[in-house]
Symmetry: C2
Subunit: 214 residues, 2 copies
DNA sequence: TGGAAAATTGTACTGATGGACAATGCCGGA
DNA sequence: TCCGGCATTGTCCATCAGTACAATTTTCCA
């Protein structure tokens, strides 16, 4: 049977959690749990009230001490960045400290079965952001801007986007520096930018093309 | 009691699913389920074998027809982009068509309780990508690179990141062009880059600092 | 077969960038 | 009071970037 442990520097605000898990144990420090927690148990970690840089260290400490347990982070001031930090650090759930007892129970079921539990709204944003990021990682090669260039212009532009000089690009593509400049000049004209820095900024704007003529 | 329905154009490869849900129903088209599905039931949608642009339409159609149900996508060729598309379209789970029966049951429990179920590996990548994307949306002003610069260096760097020339930056910040160069030079040194283009690339790499000394 | 677009390349030039070497003044902390 | 870090600025110089004006060759399609 799954046991529940709550780690909270302060013990106020935990009424609802305790109602959800009457047999659950509350303590103030992670180290108090050493020897008590078994694989499959659920740890609920109350995050500090203000977003600070130590949050993921706290979660990481707990996650590493009890690898085979499920970690759920509770926050009094839920915040998207905090949520992502804690999930990245190993938490399997993220919720409000004042969730109702039924919600706590549902979260427990979800994480006990290998799932992830975060708020619906946050879920949408995470998945959406991830999709954009992962498609952007294929950018700049697939950006709208590059679609307007010839294949050779594109090849040169992609080298610029890596930070290369014209000499380096000439060597890489086995053409003269003059040819590199010609392709770049043409690309600048097509994308309405004035130099390589603006070219790269436009390329890295996924799916959009900036009109600099305005 | 939760009912399970599987929508699959082809009925091969579903042995393990049927083992997990012996009372489960298999059909070939979403419309066959109209009138049979109740809120809280779980729909398992077998995705087409090849990644194509119609996947999210199929998921969206199912998600819209049965809003109060939980949708899980099954794929014979699991793919990260496909996973994100289906999650974005409304699926709450994404797994291999040939998962074992226990895994199917766990997924059912998770999604029935409002959670998300995707593979561990994919989970890590999604959360990580989301964190990077969401912090990048605040970048470059909050990137790790900028934290190493003095406030004046940072101000100059941010102007460069907008594509400005040294002359323009001098005018904007009300200092001489020589001062702009001094601050840039110092920033180049601290971040180990050789020019403004590489500076901007580093600034736009959220949370990471590129070691160009290699 | 012919024409257009793309690729490649030349010389020459101007302006921008970045670095070298140097200096002064301000501010905050020991 | 002194020192270090930061901000600001100067002159000078080499290199790079970008543009102008021009040309030839290659490729592809009607």
């Amino acid at each position: 049977m799954t046991k529940h442990f709550c780690i909270s520097a302060r013990t106020d605000s935990l009424e609802r959690w305790q109602k959800a898990f009457p047999a659950g144990k509350v303590c103030q420090q992670v180290l108090e749990l050493v020897g008590q927690v078994r694989p499959g148990d659920v740890l609920w970690l109350q995050l500090p009230s203000s977003l600070n840089e130590n949050i993921d260290e706290a979660v990481l400490a707990a996650a590493n001490l009890f690898r085979d347990c499920r970690l759920v982070a509770m926050s009094k001031v839920p915040d998207q960045q905090e949520a992502l930090l804690t999930l990245n650090a190993g938490a399997k759930g993220y919720c409000h400290t004042l969730s109702n007892a039924d919600t706590f129970k549902q979260i427990a079921v979800v994480v006990s079965h290998g799932g992830l539990w975060i708020g619906q709204d946050l879920m949408s944003r995470v998945v959406n952001a991830a999709e954009k990021a992962l498609s952007r990682d294929r950018a700049p090669s697939s950006s709208a801007a590059l679609k307007q260039l010839t294949s050779r212009e594109r090849a040169v532009a992609l080298e610029v986007a890596k930070g290369a000089t014209n000499k380096e690009i000439a060597r890489t593509l086995n053409i003269t520096e003059r040819t590199v400049k010609a392709h770049l000049g043409s690309a600048f004209n097509k994308l309405n930018v004035r130099d390589r820095l603006q070219l790269v900024l436009v390329m890295n704007t996924a799916g959009e093309l900036i009109d600099n003529a305005a």
